[in-house]
Structure formats: structure tokens, C-alpha cells
Symmetry: C2
Subunit: 110 residues, 2 copies
DNA sequence: TATCTTTATCGCAATATTACGATTAATTAG
DNA sequence: CTAATTAATCGTAATATTGCGATAAAGATA
């Protein structure tokens, strides 16, 4: 065998990993960086900027959207995608939690 | 085709996504949480706690180590793994960057 | 030395991800 | 209405990840 025992982990563990997983591809980091650099956030100027086809970019956008990292609204012919501030706060909070506890334990550690 | 155009992205984009990717699996989140809850950090009590075989857990530990999320030192028969505070700081910094720029742009956004 | 314990690695199977061309759906422009 | 534009989805191929049993490597213990 060899597949996805995600049902055996807690819902929290699955949720957290889902968020991080969405950021686990260079194309998706590139998309986020592009979204940051734009004054506005109308996309698919991405086609032409990223070394990927329209279909592939659309797929990456969907993954970011499914994870809640970006929000998208249809706007005439094109779509407006922007970063979802809330999910970024959530991620930071998770990491702060990791860091905090680790700091207090560090002395006892290798 | 269908494989990894990572060479076409910047080194920074690949590095960042590599870090996040390491956190993109529920088992690896569970490992981190366990490392947090322990007073010390000697592992492979993990076998028995996670619903995975020893071989699989070892693989997940290696991925976390390769990404720099945990540090490991050989200690007699067993291995001492603990969180690498530095990489957690790095991740937080990246996210802070994402958040900051987004906040200032939010008004112009959908 | 022989054996036990602990962790890493190999080889393989199942599944998931990545990527693309082609097609579809929906809106805009003429 | 027709053509053009934009973005999503389908189908498929290539590759990567996940997971395990078996085995190997290395130190601990009898």
C-alpha cells in the first residue's frame, strides 16, 4: 500500500498541514509574491509571468483558494484574486505557538 | 509530461516552498506537536504514538530534518530530535512579510 | 562474542501532484 | 449575432509522495 492515512490524524493536524501544503510549491509562492507586488490584484497577467501554462496556473490558484490563502471574486471577464489576510494570521499564530513552547524547552534539549 | 519545473523558479521561491512543504503533512505536524509537548526531545516513542510504521516515521523525520525544521543528534542507541528554532523564526518572518504588504494594499483590493 | 534495541535505508505498491493540450463556459467587443 | 478574450475543467502522462515489510548498520547489554 502507500496512501494517505489522513483519517488517522486529528482534524486540527489535517487543517494545519493543508494550509502549509498549499504554500509548498514554488509556483504558488511566486503567485503570492506577485499578488503582493501588484498595486491591485487582478490576475492572469500570471500567464506570461510564470513559466507555466494557463491550465496549470488555474490549478495552482484553485489550490490556494481551497486552502483559503487567497480569495477570488469574478469581475467581468477576469477574476480578482487577493491574499486572504485571515489565513496568514492563522498561519503566523500556529508558528508562534511552535516557537513559544520550543523556547521554554530549549534548555532541556540536545 | 507533468513534472517539477522547480528550476524555472527563483532559488528563494524554491527555498520558501521547501520549508512549507515539510509542514504539509499531518504526520509531520503531529511530530512537531509531540516534540513540543515532551519535556525533553528524545524520540521514537513516536512509534506507538503515531499510526505509522517505524520506517515511515523515520522518513518523515528525515524530511523535517532536510528542511531544517528539526535538528537531530545521535545519542547512543537513540537519536535526539528537537525543533530548530531558527527555521521557525524564518517561517514567521516570511509570513510577516506576506501580511504586512497585504495590509497596506487591502483597500485597493476586491 | 552473541543478542537485543534503535534507527536508517532499500525496494516496491498505491496514490497524489504537477503539467499540459484541448475543450468548455461565460463575458466582452465589434 | 459573431468573434475574441478569459478562466475553469477534463483527460491524460510524467513524476513525486506516502507507506510498509524486510533488511542493514551501529551501539548497548548479557
Amino acid at each position: 500500500m502507500g496512501a494517505s492515512k489522513s483519517a488517522e490524524f486529528t482534524e486540527e493536524q489535517n487543517e494545519i498541514s493543508h494550509l502549509f501544503k498549499a504554500l509548498g510549491h514554488p509556483a504558488r509562492i511566486a503567485i503570492i509574491q506577485h499578488l503582493m507586488n501588484l498595486k491591485s490584484c487582478i490576475c492572469n497577467d500570471l500567464v506570461g509571468i510564470l513559466p507555466l501554462s494557463q491550465a496549470t496556473i488555474s490549478q495552482h490558484l484553485r489550490e490556494l483558494k481551497d486552502a483559503g490563502i487567497i480569495k477570488g471574486t469574478i469581475e467581468g471577464t477576469s477574476v480578482c484574486y487577493c491574499l486572504n489576510h485571515e489565513s496568514l494570521v492563522k498561519l503566523t499564530d500556529i508558528l508562534e505557538g511552535f516557537k513559544e513552547i520550543n523556547t521554554t524547552n530549549e534548555a532541556k534539549c540536545c
